[in-house]
């Protein structure tokens, strides 16, 4: 296979990944690593570098749309960014000493976890009992616009959320993914933030977190232009197409299909990591 054929096939694959990622909310980066390693037999270190760039592309691309609506809680995002960026730098440092087959196994586990989470019903609960002193001091409580007027919400268990975010950052730096699923988990389940706010705020954070470790990976030679070319353009076009389709498509069925595919890929990654093939 020549470079031209390789680039065109990968472009098509990245387009599909970007579209499915934006339709299901799992992000484009998650599928890029199994696509590159299992289908194209690319070394996992190149795959990690490429996936990081893909997550920055999708995050920045869709963040431009969300800023206008005023849903993103910038203060909360920025405060938690301290945790995720330090985590990302730690993750990128640990990655040097980590055998690639262990990275593949951890990646597979995070992937299965993300797929299961995407099934969880998204209750847009708003909790308004003001219990966290720290949230008040840091001005983390906010509001967001709905058709029926402003909805205010309070933030809970700030310290717990902070440490979960640190963990999400380490995973992001180690595996080259946005770890959006972990971020949403920290905000929904621990900090009790309405789903709409947590999704957009997590999207804002993914780009910044990925940028922190991307700088390290770029200097380390993990980020290859020959792979970034089809992946960046494909994922961006796919995400754009996906967000246009989102209004019409039957997402529930699609999400089930996508989650099954992801679980299958995850098992492959774990198996190949276990047998030392990755």
């Amino acid at each position: 296979m020549t470079i031209l054929a390789f680039t065109l096939i990968l472009l098509l694959g990245a387009f599909t990944a970007g579209m499915l990622g934006s339709l299901t909310g799992l992000g484009g980066g998650v599928v890029i690593i199994p696509l590159l390693t299992l289908v194209f037999h690319v070394d996992i270190r190149y795959a990690i570098g490429t996936a990081l760039i893909a997550s920055i592309a999708t995050s920045s691309g869709s963040a431009a749309a969300y800023v206008k609506e005023g849903i993103t809680n910038i203060r909360l995002g920025m405060f938690l960014e301290i945790a995720t960026t330090t985590g990302a730098v730690i993750g990128a440092l640990v990655a040097v000493f980590m055998p690639t087959n262990i990275v593949a196994i951890i990646f597979g586990c995070v992937l299965i976890f993300s797929a299961i989470l995407s099934f969880k019903p998204k209750a847009n609960t708003v909790v308004n009992n003001d219990t966290s002193e720290l949230a008040r001091k840091l001005h983390l409580n906010g509001s967001y616009p709905t058709p029926d007027g402003k909805v205010t919400y309070t933030v809970h268990r700030v310290a717990g959320g902070y440490f979960m975010m640190m963990f999400a950052g380490i995973m992001s730096g180690l595996l080259g993914i946005g770890s959006g699923a972990l971020k949403v988990l920290a905000m929904d389940n621990i900090m009790r933030i309405p789903f709409k706010v947590s999704t957009t705020t997590s999207n804002f954070m993914i780009g910044v977190t990925a940028a922190a470790s991307a700088v390290v990976y770029l200097q380390r030679g993990y980020i290859s232009p020959g792979l970034c070319l089809p992946v960046v353009l494909g994922v961006l076009a796919g995400a754009l197409g996906g967000s246009k389709l989102l209004v019409r498509a039957n997402v529930t069925k699609l999400r089930i299909v996508f989650s099954v595919v992801i679980a299958f890929l995850a098992i492959q990654m774990i198996y190949n990591g276990y047998t030392g093939k990755l």
């Binding site: 296979m1 020549t2 470079i3 031209l4 390789f6 680039t7 590159l36 194209f40 037999h41 690319v42 070394d43 270190r45 190149y46 760039i53 920055i56 592309a57 920045s60 691309g61 963040a63 431009a64 800023v67 206008k68 005023g70 910038i74 920025m78 405060f79 960014e81 301290i82 960026t85 330090t86 990302a88 730098v89 990128a92 440092l93 040097v96 840091l138 001005h139 780009g207 910044v208 990925a210 940028a211 922190a212 991307a214 700088v215 390290v216 770029l218 200097q219 380390r220 030679g221 993990y222 980020i223 290859s224 232009p225 020959g226 792979l227 970034c228 070319l229 960046v232 353009l233 961006l236």
Partner: protein
């Protein structure tokens, strides 16, 4: 200039719009660079064979800003793609810097401080000799 930092000069809405524009501009610039570099790269190397099975790291010149700029001057496709990638990495970082400015206008000094910590961590990853 004397009203530059007053709240009326830059309304909060303006800065949010500015951030939105900056994000779009960053992504568009990056895509155009990656696309242009890609055409040159495929034209010159399209018939060669890809080699990503063994990890060797990218070739010299693609892993530092000075090397990338040197290659872009020589109109090398790979370096132009890499410049686009650098633009993409810079987009969220510039956004954080703009947010620091936005908090400064709101006179929310606690958040100016928090935002600067985030910027500091990112800068540390750039110059901290972490590349290993």
């Amino acid at each position: 200039m004397k009203h530059f930092f007053s709240k009326g000069y830059w309304a909060d809405k303006d800065i949010q719009q500015l951030i939105g524009k900056q994000l779009r501009l960053g992504v568009i610039t990056a895509s155009v660079l990656v696309f242009t570099g890609g055409i040159i790269y495929l034209y010159r190397h399209g018939t060669e064979l890809p080699g990503y099975r063994e990890f060797t790291g990218v070739r010299a010149g693609l892993d530092s800003i000075s090397g990338i700029i040197h290659g872009v001057r020589g109109i090398h496709g790979m370096e132009i793609i890499q410049l686009g990638v650098v633009c993409l990495i810079a987009t969220p970082i510039i956004r954080v810097a703009l947010s620091a400015f936005a908090f400064l206008l709101e006179r929310d000094f606690l958040y100016v401080f928090i935002t600067l910590i985030v910027l500091g961590v990112i800068c540390f990853s750039m110059v901290g000799e972490l590349a290993g």
